[in-house]
């Protein structure tokens, strides 16, 4: 996102558009990435309930994936998963192995 100059932004730090936090990708804060093992996952959706960043994508009652643009890598999902289907992998390791 190109940062704007002082003449272009609303005064007083006001945010004039509702819900624009979506434009701010917080995923690049992440050090550890949650990686889900589809085989192990029972679709209990506990991770979906606990994720503080609404980053667990659910469709038709099933986990479809993780929104890495916003997932901050807090590890709550991995801690809460009753069947240990989510592993926290260091981003650098993940990238070394060719992930993105």
């Amino acid at each position: 996102m190109k940062e704007k100059g002082w003449k272009e932004i609303p005064i007083g730090g006001l945010i004039l558009k509702a819900g624009n936090a979506e434009e701010y990708k917080t995923g690049d804060w992440r050090t550890f990435r949650p990686v889900r093992d589809e085989e192990k996952c029972t679709n209990c959706l506990i991770c979906w309930i606990y994720c503080p960043d609404s980053s667990i994508i659910v469709e038709d009652g099933k986990v479809k994936g993780i929104r890495y643009d916003y997932c901050k890598g807090c590890g709550i999902c991995a801690t809460e998963c009753p069947v240990e289907a989510i592993k926290m992998v260091e981003e650098s390791e993940f990238r070394k192995k060719g992930g993105e």
Binding site: W6, P10, I11, G12, G13, L14, I15, L16, K17
Partner: protein, 393 residues
Amino acid sequence: MGRIVGLTGDETAAEVMRQINPDVLAAYPITPQTETVQRFSEFVADGKVSTEMVRVESEQSAMSACIGAAAAGARAMTATSANGLALMWEIVYIAASCRLPIAMVVVNRALSGPINIHCDHSDSMGARDSGWIQIYSENCQEIYDNLIQAVRIGENREVLLPVMVTFDGFIISHCTERLELLEDKKVRDFVGEYKNSYPLLNVDNPITYGPLDLFDYYFEHKRQQIEAMEKVPQVIQRVGEEFEKLSGRTYSLMEEYKTEDADFILVAAGSTAGTVKTAIEELREEGIKAGLLKIRVFRPFPVAKICQVLKKAKAVAVLDRSASFGAQGGPIFLEVRSALFGEERKLPVINYIYGLGGRDISIEQIKGVYRNLQKIADTGKVKKLVDCIGLRE
């Protein structure tokens, strides 16, 4: 011609707030501001205003309530003194940075400690970098006139900054003076209606006030505040001219008293300006060309105008009713001296700290300052750059 009345400073502030009839007034009582809020609460109880009065448990909450109200879209006012202002501190800055044009009465009182309830300017001077416009009043009439204008100045679209209107505790706040009031309707028409362009209560377009602002945008928002302050002098001038049409009384960034031909000029703010004027009258009878430059607006500091007036003088003395510990002198002195630094001719500017904790200053003492300026002009020597008046050694 308006109605002539006798009111104390505090009563004047309450009376003008009644006429302005703000949407919200949130305040906590503190000496010597107490009568302002007490009197205003009577107006509320008697149904003389439609103001929502918020009886908070501290000044921190008073300013917070004002911020909430102003953000929601209401015209909000408050009043405080010294330690009350200190307790608001964090929120005072937030009001300015949220660009909410709250009007606040500050009845100047010495800031502790040791605890003292009498006048000096340490409270409001401490807030000089908070981003508020500061207007100092000499007497009750000025309290009245300044508060009416303050609403218009702060709410101006190009400004949108909170405004402090100050006056001297006890000396003015508890002293009955003659003043002229305008009709209620005239005041209300003059201040008009407060229209916040971004009201928090607009559910069709929800917005956010006060979000986290880090290294990526905080600096830009501060730059906007600097810009807003730079717009203030011309707005004060315009509002002053409009107010003159209404009241017949002239207001500008500062007041000049016999400065035109003055060899020796004193710079002062607040009630002492009145004492200086009397001293000037007496000195002029002796043939001494004395003059006064009264600071009305301290923030923003009207550098260019002040240089224009002072540069013709032979010597200048700045009276500060507060100390800036560890600095080269009092806050007004620092501004004045720095303003004059750009002038080609170096003229002697000295500083006197006076009246701390409510200590009286007499006409004789002020005459002594002028006599010292005469000596400096004659000898070309400044013996003491910063001195005190009325202090026991």
